[in-house]
Symmetry: C2
Subunit: 140 residues, 2 copies
């Protein structure tokens, strides 16, 4: 059970962005360099972030990305959703609409996984991007 790099990099990159977002747009090149993430891969990720209105882009020389809303209004759940990092611990209900594993009834553990999903999602729902940059700033 682990996150994909997409979810992880998205959060890292946005935290970086929030730190340098004071006045000017931040180019991916900079984020790539500072965070050690492939530029190509970042492009892919930011495309999704843009589509979901997490960031706004400015093209051309001197361009880059800026946050669409303030870091203290941006929930991690929004970020994960944008890059398809969905918390869905299992995949019952694949074949039939009613039950799990092709059977008619729910599997014994079905409710458990639902609870787990809720438990994990609550973590992301209650966490704002600003909480990361704050701890970062304290250290500096």
């Amino acid at each position: 059970m682990k996150l994909t790099t997409k979810g992880r990099y998205a959060v890292m990159a946005l935290a970086d962005l929030a730190n340098f977002n004071k006045a000017n747009p931040v180019p991916l090149r900079d984020i790539s360099f500072r965070q050690g993430i492939s530029l190509f891969y970042l492009e892919q990720i930011f495309l999704k972030l843009k589509k979901h209105n997490i960031v706004r882009s400015i093209r051309g020389s001197g361009g880059g990305y800026i946050l669409f809303k303030n870091a203290d209004e941006l929930k991690l759940s929004e970020i994960f959703f944008a890059v398809d990092e969905k918390v869905k611990t299992i995949n019952c209900n694949k074949d039939s609409k009613k039950g799990c594993n092709g059977k008619l009834s729910k599997c014994i553990t079905h409710n458990l996984w639902d609870e787990l999903d809720l438990h994990i999602n609550s973590f992301f729902e209650n966490k704002k991007l600003s909480e990361l940059t704050k701890t970062q700033n304290k250290k500096l």
Copy 2:
């Protein structure tokens, strides 16, 4: 972010086992049939469960598996650990012992993932196998 089938099947199989564990050992063949899990795969899983003293085996005709301890004493975290379903949301610290991504310092988000791991693990720590079988019994 999702569980592997190993962790999921392990919990399903043990919940099934707990339901039929009254007097006699339960053969994997039965669990395989009832839960719709491949027998070969179950063998692999139960080998691990046995090594970690989650279950005890009785060989030969009339044999099978029984729970090593009572279902209300068995934490889900023990089960997941036994089948290598480790909750480790990311893998910082792979190269160097000090930092993440080959850098010297921790990455911005490092503490976040630690928190997340703790959050998820607490769910499994506080959940007993008996809590699954109970809801099952209510329905019957």
